[in-house]
C-alpha cells in the first residue's frame, strides 16, 4: 500500500479551509437571523380583553400577535355536543375538557391549521367553524373533523384576570 505522506502544505490547506468555513458561517448567520421576529414584535406578547358584553352563543374576535383569536361563549348544547364526541372519531384527538377548562369559554386562535385562513363562525357540518379557503370543518370545540387541515385550532396560553377579563399570551 503506497501511503500518501501528509505534508505541511496539506495541513495548511485543511486548516485554512476550516477557518474559512467557520468564518463564512459566522457571517452568514446574522444575515439569516435578522429575518426572525425582532424585539419589538416579541414585545407584543400579551393582550387583555373585556368579555363582559359577550352573551352565550356569540363569538368575539380579537387580534393577538397579528392573528385573530376567537373567544366563544358557548351554549349548553354546544358544550354537550363537544363533550359527547368519541375520541376515535377525531382526526386530532383532544378532549374538550382539556381545550376549554371553563366549559362556557372557548378561547383559540382563529387560524385554520391548513394554510392559515380565518374560519367562519356557526358554519360547517359540525355546527362549529368552516374554513372557506379549502373546506375544513371544525366542531363546537374547534377540533378538525373534516377537510385538509391536520390539527385542531390552537388554544393559546390565556387566563381570566377577573370575571370579565381574559388575558391572552
Amino acid at each position: 500500500m503506497s501511503e500518501k505522506k501528509t505534508k505541511r502544505r496539506d495541513f495548511l490547506f485543511t486548516a485554512t479551509t476550516a477557518v474559512g468555513a467557520v468564518g463564512a458561517a459566522a457571517v452568514v448567520w446574522p444575515m439569516i437571523d435578522q429575518m426572525n421576529p425582532d424585539a419589538s414584535v416579541k414585545a407584543l406578547a400579551s393582550t387583555e380583553v373585556d368579555v363582559s358584553a359577550l352573551t352565550p352563543g356569540n363569538t368575539l374576535t380579537v387580534l393577538w400577535r397579528g392573528k385573530p383569536v376567537f373567544i366563544r361563549r358557548r351554549t349548553q348544547e354546544e358544550i354537550d355536543e363537544a363533550r359527547s364526541v368519541k375520541m376515535e372519531d377525531l382526526i386530532h384527538p383532544e378532549k374538550d375538557e382539556d381545550r376549554a377548562k371553563n366549559p362556557e369559554w372557548l378561547v383559540m386562535l382563529g387560524v385554520c391549521t391548513h394554510l392559515g385562513c380565518v374560519p367562519l363562525n356557526d358554519k360547517g357540518d359540525y355546527n362549529g367553524w368552516f374554513c372557506p379557503c379549502h373546506g375544513s370543518h371544525y366542531d363546537t370545540s374547534g377540533r378538525i373533523r373534516k377537510g385538509p387541515a391536520p390539527w385542531n385550532m390552537e388554544v393559546p396560553k390565556y387566563e381570566f384576570v377577573n370575571a370579565n377579563t381574559i388575558k391572552i399570551g
Partner: protein, 420 residues
C-alpha cells in the same frame, strides 16, 4: 463558429475590440445562423425579453412612488393610481405585464414541449428556463403582495403557510419568513426587497439561457440537426429580427388591449379592499397563471402531500429531457405523441379552470383526475412512448421536402432523386 475570425473595419474598432471583444459579440449576434423554417412560435423568446425589460422599467418607476409599509402600502398604490403623473398607466402596464409575461412563457414552454426543444443537446437551456420560470413565479407572487389588499394579504398567508407542511422545522421556517407571528410589516418589506432583486437574477439567467442556446443553435419545427451555416440557415439579422419584431407588434396589440380596455379583468376585485387580518375573503384564488398548480395542491387531501404534489408538478419539468425517451424531437413526426401533447394541453387548461372553482363536489373530482393524468403523462406515457411509438420518416434537411416539390416526404425524395 466563423465569427472568431471577425475583424472590425475601422482602426478604432480594431483597437477597442482587441481589448474588449464587444464588436465580435455584436457580429456573432447579427450573423448567428438560424434555421430558415422557424415559425411564429419561435418568436416568443424575443417577446419574453421585451416583457422582462418592460417589467423592470415600469417596476423601477413604480418603486419611486410606492411605500413598502403595512400602514401606507395600500394608500401609496392608490396615490400612484390617482395622483402620480401617468401613475395609472405605469401600474396597469406593470400589473398586466405580469400576466402577459406568463402568457408568453406558457406559449414558449409548450412550443418546446411540442417540438422537443428540451432534448439533447439542449437540456441545459431547458433547465435554465425552468429556473427562470420558478423565479418568475416567486417574483409574481411577491409583487402581488405589495399593494397590501385582501388578496395580497391572504394569498401571502396561504402560500407562506405551505412551508408549515414541512415536518419539525416547518413552523420555525414560516415564522422566519414572516419575521413575526403572522404576515405583517416585516413580511411586506422583505417581499418588496426580493421582488426588486429577482428580475435582475432573471436577467442574468436569461443571458445564460441565450448563451447556452447559441452553442447548439436553435431547434426548428422539423426537429433535425442542421449544418450551420448552410442552405438550411439564414442570418439572425435581418431575417429573424424582422420576424420577431412583427410578432412583438402583434403581441403588443393584445398587451395594449388589456392595459387600456380591461386593465382589471385579470386581477381580483377583493384586492381593492385593504388587507384585514381579521377577515378572510370568501374565496381565495391566486392569479390565473398559478391556477393549475393551485388545483393540484387542493386535489390532495393531505397537507404535506398536497405541497409535495404541487412542487413536483413544476420540478418534474426539470427532468423531462430524461423522461422523454424518444430520439425524435418534433411532434410533427410523432403521431402518438402529438395526440398526448394536446391531451396534456387540455389537462393543464382543465386544471386551471378547476383551480379557480371551489374545491368541492364535481370540481374536486375533476381536479383529482386531471392531477393524476398530469403525472401519468410525464412519468408513464412519455417514457413508454419513446420505445413503442412508430415515428414517421424524418427529412435529411430542412430544404429536402421543399426542393423535392412536395410536402409528402416519399414523393419528394422520389422526385429529388429523379432530378439528380
Amino acid at each position: 463558429m466563423s465569427d472568431h475570425d471577425y475583424k472590425p473595419k475601422s482602426k478604432v474598432g480594431q483597437w477597442f475590440n482587441d481589448r474588449l471583444p464587444l464588436l465580435t459579440l455584436a457580429n456573432h449576434l447579427t450573423d448567428y445562423p438560424t434555421p430558415k423554417n422557424l415559425n411564429y412560435w419561435w418568436t416568443f423568446g424575443g417577446i419574453l425579453t421585451f416583457c422582462l425589460i418592460t417589467q423592470i422599467v415600469t417596476g423601477l418607476t413604480l418603486a419611486m412612488h410606492y411605500i413598502a409599509h403595512a400602514d401606507m402600502a395600500f394608500e401609496s398604490v392608490e396615490h400612484i393610481m390617482r395622483d402620480v403623473n401617468y401613475g395609472w398607466l405605469i401600474r396597469y402596464i406593470h400589473a398586466n405585464g405580469a400576466s402577459m409575461f406568463f402568457l408568453a412563457v406558457y406559449i414558449h414552454i409548450f412550443r418546446s414541449l411540442f417540438y422537443g426543444s428540451y432534448k439533447s443537446p439542449r437540456e441545459i437551456i431547458w433547465i435554465l428556463g425552468i429556473i427562470i420560470y420558478l423565479l418568475m413565479m416567486a417574483a409574481a407572487f411577491m409583487g402581488y403582495v405589495l399593494p397590501w389588499g385582501q388578496m395580497s394579504f391572504w394569498g401571502a398567508t396561504v402560500i407562506t403557510n405551505l412551508f408549515s407542511a414541512i415536518p419539525l422545522v416547518g413552523e420555525g421556517i414560516v415564522t422566519w419568513l414572516w419575521g413575526g407571528y403572522s404576515v405583517d410589516n416585516p413580511t411586506l418589506t422583505r417581499f418588496f426587497t426580493l421582488h426588486y432583486l429577482i428580475p435582475f437574477l432573471i436577467l442574468g439567467l436569461v443571458v445564460l439561457h441565450i448563451w447556452a442556446l447559441h452553442v447548439p443553435g436553435n431547434n426548428n419545427p422539423v426537429g433535425i440537426d442542421i449544418k450551420k451555416p448552410s442552405k438550411d440557415t439564414v442570418p439572425f439579422h435581418p431575417y429573424i429580427v424582422i420576424k420577431d419584431g412583427f410578432a412583438l407588434l402583434m403581441f403588443m396589440i393584445v398587451f395594449a388591449f388589456f392595459v387600456f380596455y380591461a386593465p382589471n379583468i385579470l386581477g381580483h376585485a377583493d384586492n381593492y379592499i385593504e388587507a384585514n387580518p381579521m377577515v378572510t375573503p370568501a374565496h381565495i384564488v391566486p392569479e390565473w397563471y398559478l391556477l393549475p398548480f393551485y388545483a393540484i395542491l387542493r386535489s390532495v387531501p393531505d397537507k404535506l402531500l398536497g405541497v409535495v404534489a404541487m412542487l413536483s408538478a413544476i420540478l418534474i419539468l426539470a427532468v423531462l429531457p430524461w423522461l422523454d425517451t424518444s430520439k425524435i424531437r418534433s411532434a410533427v413526426f410523432r403521431p402518438l405523441y402529438k395526440q398526448f401533447y394536446w391531451i396534456l394541453v387540455a389537462d393543464v387548461l382543465i386544471l386551471g379552470y378547476v383551480g379557480a372553482m371551489p374545491a368541492e363536489g364535481l370540481y374536486l373530482l375533476i381536479a383529482r383526475v386531471a392531477t393524476a393524468y398530469y403525472f401519468l403523462h410525464f412519468l408513464v406515457i412519455l417514457p413508454i412512448l419513446g420505445f413503442k411509438e412508430k415515428t414517421l420518416p424524418v427529412p435529411l434537411s430542412i430544404t429536402e421536402p421543399i426542393l423535392g416539390g412536395s410536402p409528402n416526404l416519399a414523393t419528394a425524395r422520389n422526385k429529388e432523386s429523379k432530378i439528380e
